[in-house]
C-alpha cells in the first residue's frame, strides 16, 4: 500500500533522513521505532508532505505522491495522528471529530464516523460538547486517534501516541488500535520511542537510528535481537 524508496530529507542544513526504504502492505501493522532524534517524526512529516523530500520516492496505492501537496494527502486516505496529540483546543470534542471528516472524499459518511469514534472511545462520548483543550492527555490522544479515523483512512499513521501518558492508558490505546487492525483490517503505521509496546503488537518493524534504517524484521525477529538495545543506548 505504501512504499518509500531511498528517502533523503535535509533541512536546516542537517541530514534528517538517509536513504530510508520502507514498505507497508494492506492490512499490516508496521512499527517504526528508534531513539530520540532518529528522524521518526521527520519520516511521518515526509509521508504527510509537510516536509519536502530531497531525494527518493513515496508511492501510495500505486501512485507516486512525492509531489502531491500536503493538504491533499489526507483525501487520498492517509491519516496522520501527529506527535503530541495536536487537538484543536478551542473546539469541542465533537467538532474535532467533524474536522477529521474533512478528508472523507466519499469513503464514508461524517455522522457515522463520528458515532464510531464515540463507540470506540466511550469516554469521549460523555464529553462530546466539552472543549478539547480541557481533556486529559490520554483523552486527547483518544480524540486525536478518533479524529484520524474519522476520515475513513486507508492508512492510519500514529506518531508517538504513548508520549507523556501513563502506562495503563497507553495499553488501552494500543489495544484499541490493535483491535482495529485485526478486526477491520485497518493498515497501521506507528512510530514509537517506547519500543516494547510497539513491537509487541506489530507484524513487522523497522528500527531507525540517526536517520537511517539499521534493523528490520518481523515481530519475533525484533524481540529476539540483542542489538536493539545498542541502537537505543549506544552500547
Amino acid at each position: 500500500m505504501l512504499a518509500l524508496e531511498g528517502i533523503d530529507v535535509r533541512y536546516g542544513g542537517l541530514q534528517a533522513l538517509r536513504g530510508v526504504s520502507l514498505h507497508v502492505a494492506a492490512g499490516e501493522f508496521i512499527a517504526v521505532i528508534g531513539p530520540n532524534g532518529a528522524g521518526k517524526t521527520t519520516l511521518f512529516k515526509a509521508i504527510s508532505g509537510v516536509v519536502p523530500l530531497t531525494a527518493g520516492s513515496i508511492t501510495f496505492e500505486g501512485q507516486e505522491i512525492g509531489a502531491l501537496r500536503a493538504a491533499a494527502r489526507p483525501h487520498r486516505g492517509i491519516a496522520h495522528v501527529p506527535e503530541g496529540r495536536q487537538v484543536f483546543g478551542d473546539l469541542t470534542v465533537e467538532e474535532n471529530l467533524l474536522l477529521g471528516t474533512e478528508a472523507l472524499a466519499g469513503r464514508g459518511t461524517a455522522a457515522r464516523n463520528v458515532e464510531r469514534a464515540f463507540d470506540l472511545f466511550p469516554i469521549l462520548a460523555e464529553r462530546r460538547k466539552q472543549q478539547a483543550g480541557a481533556l486529559s492527555g490520554g483523552q486527547q490522544q483518544m480524540l486525536a486517534i478518533g479524529r484520524g479515523l474519522a476520515s475513513s483512512p486507508r492508512l492510519l499513521m500514529l506518531d508517538e501516541p504513548s508520549m507523556g501518558l501513563a502506562p495503563t492508558i497507553v495499553d488501552d490505546i494500543f489495544e484499541a488500535v490493535h483491535r482495529l487492525n485485526r478486526q477491520e483490517g485497518l493498515t497501521v503505521l506507528i512510530v514509537e520511542q517506547r519500543a516494547i509496546e510497539a513491537i509487541e503488537i506489530c507484524d513487522r518493524g523497522y528500527v531507525l537510528s540517526t536517520g537511517a534504517v539499521t534493523l528490520q524484521g518481523t515481530r519475533a525477529e525484533l524481540l529476539a535481537d540483542t542489538t536493539l538495545r545498542e541502537a537505543y543506548l549506544g552500547a
Partner: protein, 316 residues
C-alpha cells in the same frame, strides 16, 4: 448643573458611546478575525474601510432615488460592498499577504510578523495617497435624511435622550453583522474550519484542510466586515482619504483590549473603546477624547497584553 441635567448629559454620552461603540466593534471584529485566524496584523484595514466609504458614497449616488431613501439604500449598498470587499480581500491575500505570512514566513527570524506589518504599512500608504489622488481631499459623506433626524426618548420628566436615526440603525446593522459572523463561525462547516485553523494550523493541515485558502477566506471576511462598518459610518460622519488614520488607534485599541484572538472579544473591545472615548468627554476637552483611547491602549498593552478575553499572548 442640577441632577437631571447631569444625568441627561451622562445618559446622552453613554448612548453615544454605545452606538458609536457598536460601529467601532464591527471595525475591530474585522481586524480581530484576521489576526485571530492568520496572526496577521493588517495595517491597511483603516484604508480599506475608507475605500468602502467611497464605494458606499458612489453606490448610493447611483442607486438612491433621493435623500429620504438614501439611508436604507446605503444599508443595501453596504451588503453589496461587503461582498465586493470579500473578493478584494481574497485577492489581496493571494497576491500580497500570502507572500509574507503563513507557510512562507515560518523560516524568518520573527515568524514573519515584521514582514506583514511592513507590507500592509506600505499598502496603507499607497491606498491613502492613491485615494487622495482619485477622490480629492475635501471631506464628504453620504447625504441622507436619517442622519438629520433623531428620535426623542423621554426617560423621565426631565431627561430626554436624543438618538440619531442614522447612528442607531448603523449600530443595529453593525451588531447584526457581527452576530451573523459569530453564527457563521460557530455553526457552519466553514466557520469550524476557520476556528480549527486558528486553533492549530499544523493539525488542520494534517486533516487535509487547505490552510492557505482558509487564510484567504478569513482575510476576505475581515475586510468585508470593516467595509460594512465603513459604509455605515459614512452615513453620519464626514470622511476623506486620510480617514483610516483617524480610526487606526481605535481599531487596535479595541482589538488589543478585547483580546487579540477572538471576533467576539474584538467587538466587545471596540464597544468599550467607544464608551471610553465618549465618556472621556465628560472630563476632558473634546479634542482630547482620543487621548483617553491611547492611554487605555497603552495601559492594556503594558499591563495585560492578552486583553480582557484573550488567551495568553504567545500562541502555542
Amino acid at each position: 448643573m442640577n441632577w437631571s441635567e447631569h444625568g441627561e448629559q451622562i445618559l446622552q454620552v453613554l448612548s453615544a458611546g454605545l452606538l458609536l461603540g457598536c460601529l467601532y466593534g464591527l471595525m475591530c471584529a474585522g481586524l480581530g478575525l484576521i489576526f485571530g485566524i492568520m496572526r496577521v496584523i493588517n495595517f491597511a484595514q483603516g484604508e480599506f474601510m475608507m475605500l468602502a466609504m467611497y464605494a458606499g458614497l458612489n453606490g448610493v449616488a447611483l442607486l438612491s432615488p433621493g435623500r429620504a431613501w438614501a439611508f436604507p439604500v446605503a444599508m443595501g449598498v453596504a451588503v453589496i460592498v461587503a461582498l465586493l470587499f470579500y473578493g478584494m480581500g481574497a485577492a489581496t491575500h493571494y497576491l500580497l499577504i500570502s507572500r509574507v505570512s503563513g507557510a512562507r514566513a515560518l523560516g524568518s527570524l520573527d515568524g514573519g510578523h515584521t514582514g506583514q506589518l511592513i507590507l500592509t504599512l506600505g499598502l496603507s500608504l499607497v491606498l491613502q495617497n492613491g485615494g487622495l489622488m482619485l477622490f480629492g481631499s475635501s471631506p464628504t459623506s453620504i447625504s441622507n435624511a436619517a442622519a438629520d433626524t433623531s428620535w426623542m426618548l423621554d426617560m423621565t420628566d426631565d431627561i430626554t435622550l436624543f438618538l440619531n436615526q442614522a447612528r442607531l440603525w448603523s449600530a443595529v446593522m453593525a451588531t447584526a453583522a457581527v452576530g451573523l459572523t459569530l453564527l457563521l463561525m460557530a455553526r457552519t462547516g466553514v466557520g469550524r474550519r476557520l476556528r480549527a485553523v486558528a486553533s492549530n494550523p499544523v493539525a488542520a493541515l494534517y486533516m487535509g484542510v487547505d490552510v492557505e485558502r482558509s487564510f484567504r477566506t478569513a482575510f476576505g471576511i475581515g475586510l468585508a466586515l470593516t467595509a460594512v462598518a465603513g459604509v455605515c459610518v459614512a452615513t453620519f460622519y464626514p470622511f476623506q482619504p486620510y480617514t483610516g488614520f483617524d480610526f487606526v488607534i481605535i481599531m487596535y485599541a479595541g482589538v488589543v483590549l478585547g483580546g487579540m484572538g477572538s471576533v467576539g472579544g474584538a467587538f466587545l473591545g471596540g464597544l468599550l473603546i467607544g464608551l471610553v472615548q465618549q465618556l472621556s468627554t465628560l472630563v476632558l476637552p473634546p479634542q482630547l477624547q482620543n487621548t483617553a483611547v491611547f492611554v487605555v491602549f497603552l495601559l492594556v498593552l503594558l499591563a495585560r497584553p492578552q486583553g480582557l478575553l484573550g488567551r495568553s499572548v504567545e500562541r502555542a
